[in-house]
């Protein structure tokens, strides 16, 4: 087993359902979680729409994959960075997003929020700080 842990960033910039990017990204994140790397997810531009609550796809005949984001914590994917300016441009606030949590085994399994709202400058710094960036 390789001991090298790299920093992976998955960049999500597309709305769900209109294209396949959002679902494909989620699938790759779940598969990639098996490799014990340092994973972060970034949501900016229309990507912030992926995390909104209240999605109901019954009438369009497409799988609603939004509940799957709640499972990411169990795969030790616990850092979901959401860009503040992208939310604001779309009339959204943190309250419009799902509440996503992970359980910290080093802190008596305390539930901690996975979503971290950061500004554009912090997003740029996050992107610059990676070993691998995967774009969707």
């Amino acid at each position: 087993m390789s001991e090298v842990v790299k920093k992976f960033l998955y960049v999500n910039r597309k709305a769900p359902y209109g294209t396949i990017y959002a679902l494909e990204s989620l699938e790759v994140v779940l598969i990639g979680a098996a490799f014990d790397q340092d994973v972060s997810l970034a949501f900016l531009d229309d990507g912030v729409f992926q995390l909104t609550k209240g999605q109901d796809t019954k009438a369009i005949g497409v799988k609603n994959f939004s509940p799957t984001y709640r499972a990411l914590g169990d795969y030790e994917v616990t850092k979901l960075y959401v860009e503040k300016q992208s939310l604001e441009e779309r009339g959204l606030s943190e309250d419009d997003l799902q509440e996503l949590v992970w359980e910290d085994e080093d802190d008596d399994w305390a539930e901690k929020p996975s979503i971290r709202i950061i500004d554009r400058k912090e997003m740029a710094a996050l992107m610059a700080d990676q070993d691998v960036v995967l774009s969707f």
Partner: protein, 102 residues
């Protein structure tokens, strides 16, 4: 002569909605479908541009696409009505022309 315009792209991803709004004539309708329904949300950077056009034409959003994206009445821009697939067909039949802004 009236035209039913459909917009299926997010207004934050392409300029399809903006270009559509800039080219409609009095009596036309714009139906927002698929990712186009994000143009029907309130408090967004697009809201004022959409609102300004509603005096001149009617703007409708497809309910199944709103539901899929979690846009409920509280997040819908005031003055935008909704319709279902049957209503979509009726609107297409009622207008002389259909124009899709892809």
């Amino acid at each position: 002569m009236s035209t039913l315009h459909t917009v299926n792209k997010s207004p934050f991803a392409t300029n399809a909605l903006k270009s559509c709004l800039d080219h409609v004539s009095d009596g036309d309708s714009i139906l927002l479908i698929e990712d186009g329904v994000y143009g029907a949300s309130n408090n967004s950077a697009m809201a004022d541009m959409v609102k300004a056009k509603m005096k001149q034409i009617s703007i409708i959003a497809l309910k199944p696409d709103l539901d899929a994206r979690g846009i409920d009445e509280t997040r819908l821009l005031e003055g935008i009505s909704t319709t279902d697939y049957a209503g979509f067909v009726e609107m297409a039949a009622k207008h002389d022309l259909n124009q899709a802004w892809l």
